[in-house]
Amino acid sequence: MNTQSSRNNDRFSLSPMHTDQVLMLVILGGACLVIALGVVFVVSRFTDAPSFSWAAVGAIAPWYLAVISGWIMFVMVPIYVAHGRTRQAGFVEWMQTGVLLAVIGAAIMGVGYLIERGFYNLLGLEKGAEDIYFSISSGSIVMIFAHYMLTFAVWFALGGFVGVSLYRFTDWGWISIPIALATASLTGLWNFTGVSIFGFVRRLVPTVDTGLAVVVVVCLCYLTWRMVQDMSLRNP
């Protein structure tokens, strides 16, 4: 009867999941920026040189992406399958969402730094020379963008890997968390944001290795795909 799909699979079009997630990210990013600037303003009333509070947002943001990614794998992909879509279709949308969030999230981070710097100038605040954001030229915004995009990509991959592991293996799935964290910390990206849990790993891998980060993303995506491609839907 309806052998012909009414959907056009050839062209990329935004799904409700894409638009929902991008919209949420933009709203949250905007709200965080307002709060960050507010904190800078209040702190500047008492001390001379508050450190960048936007950097703190940058430290939390990857975790937000990881949670969203895990939620897509754990909740949305099974829903897709239950609605007659393939696991592959769900996986592809997960990846597309990851790319969108990493790119748009990184853009928000870059713009946020610019706005925050402008806000400092407006308030007439001087920053200490040790602050990397001032010591690097305005071209550093490209670097900031690239750095966050890479970080978000790693954390997004990590979240999906954990999400699908938990869905497929239930209790054993928790093992994926230390595995994912150890893998992610290898990249050293974490430390750039100023928050480090695996400081000891940083000493082993002192530099941010872009190549390594890309390899980690690819590996996590591959493992996620292997787990998702033939997973059974859980019984209600």
Partner: protein, 290 residues
């Protein structure tokens, strides 16, 4: 539409849920899938819908494998528990939005009409819905998907009798307006037997019966009379159940009930009564060791 189930085996650890099950379904029909709890019927539906890859064997629809084949799976709908297809924290409205995106043949008007009939508000949060309303949402999502093969696995849970009859009426309407195949699994056999064209019975992971409902019913009879006469009569016949009250005995016989059978019973002074779908099912699948 044609579904070919070939030598399906499903193992869960040490237990065998489905044992070399083969079955072929054709045409546009309402089919009843009957089986006791744990018989393997839900597992079978999961495998047909591509929710699960069986341990071995395969399912073909119009000659193509079902599992991870998007062109085929979009023509299938299996509703088990509504939580499969919606996210609990969202509103009913949101669930429709996703269904409209994911289902190529989605009929939004139909979905809204059904939800209205079942008194499910579009603004309700799904987690706040009662058991019955959740089932109703599942039914609406299943019917509005307008899939070539729609499977409803005990979707009546929590629905009161008026809502169930509403469900049956709407299902029949759907079937008549847009003929397609439905598979219903239900324990409320009495309620659905009359609109089942075919019946599939699964017992202990094996196919026990597949065929026309009337043909099924015509194979079962209760032979009642003097115990000794009944015992003599049933020799060589397949007796699937017995009941005795004093000297009167009823034997449930399964097999071909032809003119010869009826005439013999009549000359022996025995009553022959048909066993409806439910009774026949109960006698056929009741636990053996008692």
């Amino acid at each position: 539409m044609n579904i070919e189930i070939r030598n399906i085996h499903q193992r869960f650890g040490d237990t065998i849920a489905l044992n070399d099950l083969s079955l072929s379904i054709e045409g546009t029909k309402i089919i009843g899938l009957l089986g006791r709890n744990g018989s393997g019927k839900s597992t079978l539906l999961n495998i047909i819908a591509g929710f699960r890859k069986p341990t071995s064997g395969k399912v073909l629809m119009d000659g193509e494998p079902v599992f991870e084949n998007g062109r085929i799976t979009e023509r299938l709908a299996l509703i088990r528990e509504v939580g499969d297809t919606v996210e609990d924290s969202e509103k009913v409205e949101e669930a429709l939005r996703y269904a409209a995106y994911l289902r190529p043949n989605w009929n939004d008007e139909r979905a809204r009409y059904l939800l209205d009939r079942f008194e499910v508000s579009l603004k309700s949060k799904i987690s706040s819905l009662s058991r019955g309303r959740r089932s109703a949402l599942g039914i609406a999502l299943g019917l509005a998907a307008q899939a070539d093969l729609t499977m409803l696995d005990e979707t009546y849970l929590g629905l009161d009798a008026p809502s169930r009859y509403l469900f049956y009426d709407e299902l029949l309407q759907d079937y008549m307006n847009q003929p397609r195949t439905f598979i219903l699994s239900s324990h409320l056999i009495e309620e659905i037997a009359r609109f089942l064209e075919d019946i599939v019975i699964i017992d202990h992971g094996k196919l026990m019966f597949h065929g026309n409902t009337e043909q099924f019913v015509s194979q079962g009879a209760a032979v009642t009379g003097n115990a000794a006469d009944v015992d003599r009569f049933v020799v060589g016949k397949k007796v699937i159940g017995e009941r005795q009250l004093g000297r009167t005995k009823s034997a449930m016989v399964y097999g071909e009930i032809n003119i010869g059978f009826l005439e013999q019973a009549s000359t022996d002074g025995l009553d022959v009564e048909s066993l409806g779908v439910q009774d026949l099912f109960v006698y056929l699948t009741q636990p053996k060791d008692e």
